[in-house]
């Protein structure tokens, strides 16, 4: 075949370009340590890479969800343990005092029960991350608002009757002046709130007057409906002591709902992580459930009651035993949840490892291989250069003429 000069030049040029291009690719792989530097390097691989990356990102998110849920579950579990101890303690008080003949000791026991009541109320109103734990979906409403006072029927109010309310900073008492004919009980160390009522007032009217009067004091706000008065103060526990008959200390009522809160732990997989006030405290919807606040209140009332009825106390022993079971049941549910979260987390951990592995296999260049490849390309390029140089240095016929 004839070989023309331009032919030689063209071939040398295209060989050099091709080698240089491959050298550049090899260099890029070493520099980025990635096999796929743009979609066209491996279109199918790129699709897989994106898929794996999405999977890893989702797993990370699922793990975040699980970690958050676990810490919430652990926190709930601690609360349930405390609750269990408290109820157990109340049960023992009930058993120990079911035949107590000494009214003083019974009074002491009643106070102890009241203390337990308050502690349990504290647990029921625990906030986690700014949200009430046992409120169902109503996480920004206190689930077991404090203290409600009902005013008795108007006929049973006699002038001068009073009840005490107080916060940690200020003590008040509320007293009733019927038809301007009553006297201020003037309870020492407390500020009196006078409520003017008429003997013809209905219970509802009395309640409204009471609420308005309490509202007027900066430290408290009054709420409630009909003949009930709810007293709350800014974040502080409110102590209400019933001084006379005609008012009764009311139980905490549940303000939350029974809705469940789920978290996502996987594709289409959700785990319920909350217990509602009904599940733990009021026993609504729980098989063999009981309202522990009612039970404690009943126990306290029974211990304080004159004359003392022993059976009223022992009744509450049974109820409190139910309450203990109810809390146990809730704790078991939480531990099952925890176990499930942990299993799922372990699963994701392992799965993530294998996905990272698969991703790396497709996407990452093996450095040793890449460097060897680079070396090979360098050699090839140098060889091409050397050949080109030789070709042009070669003597032509002109040199011999």
């Amino acid at each position: 075949m004839r070989v023309s000069n331009r032919q030689m030049v063209n071939i040398v040029k295209s060989d050099l370009f091709r080698n240089a291009e491959q050298l550049l690719k090899a260099e890029e792989r070493v520099a980025t340590r990635k096999l796929i530097n743009r979609p066209s390097d491996d279109p199918i691989g790129m699709g897989k890479v994106l898929d794996y990356r999405k999977t890893i990102s989702s797993i990370d998110q699922y793990t975040n969800n699980i970690v958050a849920a676990k810490s919430r579950t652990e926190f709930t579990d601690t609360l349930l343990e405390n609750l269990y101890d408290l109820l157990d303690q109340a049960k023992r008080v009930a058993i120990e005092h079911s035949n107590e003949l000494d009214p003083e000791l019974r009074q002491g026991a009643a106070q102890q029960v009241e203390g337990i009541y308050d502690q349990i109320l504290g647990i029921a109103n625990t906030q986690y991350d700014g949200n009430y734990l046992f409120a169902g979906h109503d996480t920004d409403t206190i689930p077991f608002p404090r203290d409600e006072v009902t005013t008795g029927a108007e006929s049973t109010l006699s002038g001068g009757e009073s009840f005490n309310i107080g916060s940690s900073t200020t003590d008040y008492y509320v007293w009733y002046d019927i038809d301007d004919g009553s006297t201020d009980p003037a309870i020492a160390g407390r500020t009196g709130i006078e409520i003017d009522i008429a003997s013809g007032d209905t219970a509802a009217q009395v309640a409204v007057a009471t609420r308005n009067a309490i509202d007027a004091e900066a430290d408290f706000s009054g709420g409630g409906s009909d003949s009930a008065v709810t007293i709350t103060s800014g974040g502080e526990g409110v102590e209400i002591i019933d001084n006379n008959s005609g008012f009764s200390f009311q139980n905490a009522t549940y303000n939350g709902d029974s809705e469940k809160i789920n978290i996502i732990v996987g594709e289409g997989a959700q785990v319920r992580i909350n217990l509602t006030g009904n599940d733990v405290f009021t026993g609504v919807g729980v098989t063999n459930g009981t309202n522990v606040f009612d039970d404690l209140k009943a126990l306290k009332d029974a211990l304080e009651a004159e004359p003392f009825v022993a059976s009223a106390v022992s009744d509450q022993t049974d109820n409190l035993a139910k309450g203990v079971n109810q809390v146990e049941g809730a704790a078991v549910r939480q531990s099952i949840t925890y176990k499930r979260l942990e299993t799922t987390e372990n699963h994701w951990d392992k799965f993530k490892n294998s996905v990272v592995d698969m991703l790396s296999k497709i996407e990452d260049a093996d450095l040793a291989t890449a460097i060897v490849e680079l070396q090979a390309q360098e050699t090839a390029y140098e060889a091409a250069l050397a050949t080109a140089a030789k070709m042009f240095n070669r003597k032509s016929l002109i040199d011999f003429l």
Binding site: M1, R2, V3, S4, N5, R6, Q7, N10, I11, S14, K34, I36, N37, R38, P39, S40, D41, D42, P43, I44, M46, G47, V49, L50, D51, R53, K54, S57, S58, D60, Q61, Y62, N64, N65, A68, A69, D129, G130, N131, Y132, A135, G136, H137, D138, T139, D140, D257, E259, I261, N262, I263, I264, E267, G268, Q270, N274, S396, L397, I398, L401
Partner: protein, 580 residues
């Protein structure tokens, strides 16, 4: 003629012939590096002998005209390959720019942004009333909308660049066509005089070769030496010294179509089958619009479409008994009109909702009555549909439970029904059926479209307006709607419910990669073919300096010998003269 003078003549002819040979060799050597140059050879042949007494006596040599050493078949093959090379070269460079738009290699592309968007919904589900989570979600959503819009907007400048390239190339094609026409003219004139216009032919071949990189051409030579150039569809570009001019016209998409200047309203885009023009037109008008469409589909899928509008015609055009159907997966309803007590229930199946109208009702009144009827019948009872009236006579039916509003069997007059793409899916749909932190029903989460350059988080959405709650209004701990939206990530929402958003996007990126790879491979293939053919052509037509040296020496020796012949003859004559 014979005798000693004859020998002198022979010597002279030989000198001239060898000199011609040296001239041609010199021309070859001079053009060793000229692109498109075809080596020439001089043909030597004996001159006509004379009849002498001893028989035929040779009279020496003459140099015939120089000829190009050329294989026309290779030339045509190169033109064909060039068309493909030009096309794939254009596509490759354009698509490589598209590829950079989908920069996913660094783990920072749209894919990641989408992942973070869905993850933010899960974070919100973990703490549905948390302000931090809400703000983070809002930020991620804004980033998502911005990135989608930003990515989408990168396509248009690319199309505009290609448009300019196309217009410029059309001008270049016209210049080349004129050049070929001029050369045709010169060749016809020269060759009419009986000589080979070698160098003009070389220039013309080169022009055709360059032309074939830009557009598909076929060529055929006429006996006059003129080369006619047609496009592959048969229309003539160059005929003799006459050329047809290409031009451009604006098309509906705002870009330029290629047209003949003589027929400036008929686009010939579709008949162009090769060259850079083909490559650029394909990328600008087919490939990029498809990617844009894919992105629009993806965004529409994420947004979802939740409401269907029914336009009530003027009341007078509604005759009694007309109806349209609305349906949910559980129940089918139809809404029918009773006008002034006339009109019978069409009973097409499903539950009928009767709307009593009067002939004097306005369209707006009819719309309002229809909305009330639907609301009374359904909304209060089982919340299947949510209806609202906008703009007087337009009734919007948003299905609350997944379902869609279908076209009526009898929608010919009075009202028209615009069909929704999908009855109840996507972020907007779910967001609308949820409740925000204040217990108010959520509105659209995203608004605008990519094509409208206004895709964004709806301006009404702020951190408190994100509807994470799915049930009772005002339940801040309810995360069911946030979970539902987060789970859209894994729902099969695209490609007729066969792919997730991520699947869809990933295959889009994969497609771009494949297209670039394909264009690159085709480009490499045709480059190899062209260079192979060029080598073959060079092998035949290229100048080899070694060969020319040999020729040079050959002619030099011939020249020397001819000179010797003349001087010898001279001596002979001198000897002869001295005898006298």
């Amino acid at each position: 003629m014979s005798g000693i003078y004859g020998v002198l003549q022979t010597g002279m002819r030989s000198l001239l012939a060898q000199q011609r040979g040296i001239e041609v060799t010199g021309h070859n050597i001079a053009n060793v590096n000229t692109p498109g140059y075809t080596r020439q050879t001089v043909t030597l042949e004996t001159t006509t002998p004379v009849m002498g007494s001893q028989g035929m006596i040779g009279t020496g040599v003459t140099a015939r005209e120089s000829e190009r050493v050329y294989d026309r078949f290779v030339g045509v093959q190169i033109e064909n390959e060039n068309e493909e090379l030009g096309r794939w070269d254009a596509q490759k460079t354009a698509l490589e720019r598209v590829e950079t738009i989908f920069d996913e290699s660094s783990d920072s592309g749209l894919s990641k942004t989408m992942g973070e968007f869905w993850n933010a919904w899960q974070d919100l589900a973990n703490n549905p009333s948390g302000n931090v989570e809400r703000l983070a979600l809002l930020g991620n959503s804004e980033t998502l909308a911005f990135e989608f819009q930003n990515t989408y907007n990168k396509f248009s400048p690319l199309q505009a660049d290609l448009d300019i390239s196309i217009a410029t190339t059309v001008d270049e094609i016209n210049l080349k066509a004129d050049e070929i026409g001029d050369l045709n003219q010169k060749i016809i004139e020269a060759e009419g005089g009986g000589v080979h216009a070698n160098d003009f032919r070389d220039a013309r071949d080169l022009a055709v070769k360059e032309l074939s990189l830009m557009i598909d051409v076929t060529t055929y030579e006429e006996s006059s030496g003129s080369l006619n150039v047609n496009l592959k569809d048969g229309s003539s570009l160059v005929n003799g010294s006459n050329t047809s001019t290409l031009s451009t016209m604006a098309n509906d998409a705002g870009y330029r179509d290629v047209v003949w200047a003589s027929d400036p309203t008929v686009s010939i885009n579709s008949t162009i089958s090769g060259g850079k023009l083909k490559g650029w037109i394909e990328v600008r008008d087919v490939i990029i619009p498809e990617y844009k469409k894919n992105m629009e589909d993806l965004v529409n899928g994420i947004k979802g479409v939740e409401a269907t509008e029914v336009v009530i015609g003027a009341a007078s055009t509604l005759s009694g008994g007309e109806y349209f159907t609305i349906s949910s997966p559980a129940t089918s309803y139809y809404v029918w009109y009773k006008k002034d007590g006339t009109g019978t229930d069409p009973a097409p199946g499903g539950t009928g909702i009767e709307v009593d109208i009067s002939a004097t009702d306005t369209a707006a009144q009819v719309a309002s009555k229809t909305a009330t009827a639907i609301a009374n019948e359904l909304d209060a009872g089982n919340s299947v549909f949510d209806v609202s009236v906008t703009g007087g006579a337009t009734l919007t039916i948003a299905s609350v439970v997944a379902g869609d509003v279908t076209d009526s069997a009898d929608s010919d007059t009075g009202f028209t029904i615009t069909k929704g793409i999908d009855g109840g899916n996507g972020v907007n749909y779910l967001h609308r059926i949820g409740f925000d932190l204040d217990g108010v029903g959520g509105g659209d989460f995203f608004s605008g479209t990519l094509a409208g350059n206004n895709f964004a988080v709806d301006s009404n959405i702020d951190s408190t307006k994100i509807a994470a709650s799915g049930t009772a209004a005002g339940a801040p701990g309810d995360n069911s709607n946030a979970i539902a939206i987060a789970e859209l990530q894994n729902a099969l929402m695209m490609d007729s419910d066969t792919a997730t958003f991520d699947n869809y996007y990933n295959s889009m990126v994969s497609d771009v990669g494949t297209a670039v790879r394909h264009a690159g491979m085709s480009y490499d293939h045709h480059t190899a073919m062209v260079s192979h053919l060029e080598n073959y052509r060079e092998s035949i037509s290229g100048v080899s300096l070694d060969e020319e040296m040999v020729n040079l020496i050959q002619f030099q020796l011939g020249y020397d010998a001819a000179a010797k012949l003349i001087s010898t003859t001279d001596e002979l004559l001198e000897t002869l003269m001295n005898m006298v």
